[in-house]
């Protein structure tokens, strides 16, 4: 439960930090510190509108997404707080959040949502292989599929680390891979038709996913047996994601796929082979 409390607090804090960093990089003042809580509270008070043609299941999707992310957050090892998750359920739950985003676009009966879902699906097929192989190489290197405590840093894992980091950017839909929720092209992607409480839950689950991915990255590749240090490192990873987001333009869909196909998957396969040969 402590992990969940840390994850919720970090999610709200980090999403504010992202807006603040973006504002300061454009020489603006940026939002005040209570902004994200005010946004969420307001969204929970508003009416929930659903198009008559949309599927009624649409309102459950944000809850499933939040549950999947909260499940990872509760069972994740965080410094000296032990975890209780294995590699397979980790890959499954992360894939579930992406598929929920796809279904959200398809069920909400909106053109923007449909295009967003299609793009997210294409992006999902690109980043999922390096993402899963990154987790898998750590399991091969440490001879365990159980993920009970943070793993130490090792030079052999660097190729997997790079691949996992790039896949993480694509999974969090940050620039240069913010193709599924490109604001200037397709409003908000899959979230276009969501309003009120369901939008609030969806936003909270996205913010938590950002923290959870950063903290999985820290735990897998440079773990420390200290809660505060792990959380701070996860924050640093998130800040690096935001800085990349600020300075890069959006990639085209085909160039994104080509980049993943030609380079990132190659790096991750190389990482897995390296780990396997190292532990022979």
């Amino acid at each position: 439960m402590i992990q969940l409390a840390i994850a919720v607090f970090s999610a709200i804090f980090l999403s504010w930090l992202e807006r603040k960093i973006k504002a300061r990089s454009q020489f603006r003042v940026g939002p005040p510190i209570y902004q994200q809580i005010a946004d969420l509270w307001k969204l929970f008070q508003k009416q929930n509108i659903r198009s008559a043609l949309a599927n009624p299941l649409m309102n459950f999707l944000p809850l499933i997404s939040l549950m999947a992310v909260a499940l990872i957050a509760t069972s994740l090892p965080l410094g000296s707080l032990g975890g209780s998750i294995d590699v397979i359920s980790l890959i499954f739950l992360f894939a579930l959040t992406s598929l929920i985003y796809v279904f959200a676009g398809l069920l909400s009966y909106s053109h923007y949502g449909f295009i967003g879902a299609k793009r997210e699906l294409l992006q999902f097929f690109s980043y999922e292989i390096p993402f899963a192989l990154g987790i898998l190489s750590v399991a091969i290197f440490h001879h365990t599929i159980y993920f009970l405590e943070p793993f130490q840093f090792s030079l052999v894992l660097i190729p997997s680390m790079v691949a996992f980091y790039i896949a993480g950017i694509a999974k969090l839909r940050r620039a240069p891979f913010d193709i599924p929720n490109a604001n200037q092209e397709i409003i908000e992607g899959s979230l276009t038709e969501f309003s009120g409480p369901s939008l609030g839950v969806f936003l909270l689950s996205e913010w938590m996913e950002a923290f959870v991915i950063c903290s999985v990255f820290v735990d897998l590749f440079m773990g420390f047996n200290d809660v505060l240090l792990s959380v701070l490192l996860a924050y640093l990873v998130f800040v690096s994601f935001v800085l990349i987001d600020v300075v890069t333009p959006r990639a085209r869909l085909d160039s994104m796929i080509r980049f993943f196909k030609n380079y990132v998957i190659a790096i991750s396969v190389f990482g897995v082979v390296l780990c396997y040969l190292w532990t022979l």
């Binding site: 807006r19 504002a23 454009q26 020489f27 603006r28 003042v29 940026g30 939002p31 005040p32 209570y34 902004q35 005010a38 946004d39 509270w41 307001k42 008070q45 508003k46 009416q47 929930n48 509108i49 923007y112 604001n183 409003i187 908000e188 276009t192 038709e193 969501f194 309003s195 009120g196 939008l199």
Partner: protein, 134 residues
């Protein structure tokens, strides 16, 4: 507690004006004025928005669309008419295609005059709107 005051999300709608007011709305987002420090975010979807910012006179083509976009917004919504055209019809008044000012079509909560209004006036108007939301 009504927190719309702290996080007003704005949907900006041009109903056929000359684009002058729209440029001033864009100017509000620039580093000099920066309405994000008040918690405002420009949203692309009316379902996310709390404030409908209408510029331009409503003409025959956009009359039904304005009504529809107003209906698509979730409850507790505020409508702001921006610029002379939105308030009285402006230079388009008595034109053959004008369908009347904004308050003929949808209920308007606050009017921000000017042709176009300065960004300071827009920020002041939004501030006043939020104070009204007690």
């Amino acid at each position: 507690m009504n927190l719309i005051k702290k996080s007003p999300w704005i949907f900006h709608l041009n109903t056929g004006g000359c684009n002058g007011c729209d440029l001033e709305v864009i100017a509000c987002l620039t580093p000099r004025f920066d309405i994000e420090r008040l918690g405002c975010v420009m949203k692309g979807s009316p379902r996310h928005a709390d404030i409908l910012l209408v510029t331009g006179p409503v003409n025959m083509q956009t009359r039904d669309k304005v009504k529809r976009i107003y209906d698509q917004m979730p409850k507790k919504k505020i409508v702001v008419a921006l610029g002379s055209c939105g308030i009285t019809g402006g230079i388009y008044k008595e034109s053959y295609s004008a369908a009347g000012p904004v308050d003929k079509i949808i209920p308007v909560d606050i009017y921000i005059p000017g042709c176009p209004p300065r960004p300071q006036a827009i920020i002041y108007g939004i501030k006043k709107t939020l104070e009204k939301m007690k």
